[in-house]
Amino acid sequence: MFDVDLIRKDFPVLSRELSGGRPLVYLDSGNSSQKPLQVIDTMRDHLAHHYSNVGRAHHTLGAESTAAYEDARDLIAAFVGAPSRDEIIFTKNASEALNLVAYAFGNPIATDERFRVGPGDEIVISEMEHHSNIVPWQLLAQRTGATLRWFKVTDEGRLDLGDLDDLVNERTKIVSIVHQSNVLGTINSVSPILARAREVGALMMLDASQSVPHMPVDVTELDVDFVAFTGHKMVGPSGIGVLWGRRELLEAMPPFLGGGEMIEAVWMDRSTYAPIPHKFEAGTPPIVEAIGLGAAVKYLTGIGMDDVKAHEKTLTEYALGALGEIPALTFIGPRTAISRGGTISFTLKNLSGDDIHPHDVGQVLDDAFGIAVRVGHHCARPLHLRFGIPATTRASLYLYNTTDEIDALARGLHHVQKVFG
């Protein structure tokens, strides 16, 4: 049984009192989530009693560290339904995972036709992407002369697939799209885009940084080619991210970072590379961080991702209702809890109709009530440009949030309107 009060006890920071006696109301999990004791103590225990470098273990600590690190890979593979544990590549965050794939294209070392990119070739993203799924592709386009194109976003905050057949065409090498928007909350439906990508022989990548933490995600069912996500948003530690990719593609890609662990044999003038996943894990990996992420997915699995999703859906409906009643509050993103997650962005005016800058909203919420929201463009500036606003206020919900906290937010926003009235 999902019991949010019990869950909250696992997260020490949630019972913290901020200066001035403000209880913490953490509504910024879309930015980064808090960590349960189960994760924190797993990391602490490993650091204190079992730590060593992994991979080339010929001693007890090395064997323990390696086992824990590779067990984490198993746990994560199972968590996202990867057909093979070898397809789980540990990176430092989702951004590295996205860059890793982007750097595989147009690399003179790449021999596989699918990764050749030059002038005339096209890369397709969307207007609702996080900068981490925009800039790597811009850089790729600049390096190779390829053309970057993108899906538009509708006024309701959905992907505009009207020009799908034009956008994704025979020149397209890869389509990389966010699974759940970190601003709008929109969950994109993958299959129509994937079908078109397959039709024209393009590869498809999903930025699942905001979906894997919040709902059951199965890469086999999704059937795309690459999926990126990040540990710190899913009750795991910072410093660890994941790239899942199809074995066959990962094997066809050139190496990215060179160094220890990713090699098979090295001579001064040439090298051969280790099989996946190690081929893409150069140097000492984020060992304790991977182990922490393993503990995180164990924790989430223990609770059940279906229940996490259901809880967040209830909260989202409640929040859309409660915030929707605030006069002069405008949602940016879907107004109903259908095909959307618990990431709720909005703009706010005072009762005379003047804009209140999100910076001011966020700071007063924190100052006065200890409510943590994110304000700004949330690393999705083009999306804000599209809506003609410099910034929004964003409340993002997670398994440990409550309707009381949403009530507190609503009260806080009324107060903000008074302060800047």
Binding site: S19, D360, A368
Partner: protein
């Protein structure tokens, strides 16, 4: 509201009743500065005569911090000497970039000391500095 709040009464006052707002003639230099990360903007003019700041006029948009900072700047700079005012700019910059660990010199800063709480929030420091950097730029160009 807690004691160390960033939102000093004075900041809100300046935000709601900005001093010297509006672009005025005559002027020696006009600059336009933008904070690309949050979209705050300011257009600022200075009129200088024999080392004295005769007017600082401006127009802009952004959060209360950036707007109030421009208003306070107007008050402090107008009527002082260029040299004095640049001294205040330097002290204000030092305070803002001190990550909350720098003791503000109230004698130099006057009302601008109300912004001390901003220094703890790196993302807000640029808001506070926007108009002040624009002023420095404008003064250099007016020379």
């Amino acid at each position: 509201m807690i004691a160390e709040s960033m939102y000093q009464e004075l900041i809100l006052e300046h935000y709601k009743h900005p001093q010297g707002r509006g672009l005025r003639d005559p002027f020696d230099a006009e600059v336009h500065h933008v904070n690309p990360t949050c979209g705050d903007e300011i257009t600022l003019r200075v009129k200088v005569d024999e080392g004295k700041v005769l007017d600082v006029s401006y127009e802009g948009q952004g959060c209360s911090i950036s707007q109030a900072a421009a208003s306070v700047l107007h008050e402090l700079a107008t009527g002082s000497t260029v040299e004095e005012s640049l001294g205040v700019v330097d002290e204000f910059t030092r305070l803002m970039q001190g990550r909350g660990q720098v003791e503000a010199d109230e004698d130099v800063l006057g009302d601008a000391v109300a912004f001390a709480g901003v220094a703890k929030y790196p993302a807000r420091v640029k808001c506070a500095l926007l108009s002040w950097m624009a002023y420095k730029d404008a003064v250099v160009r007016s020379a």
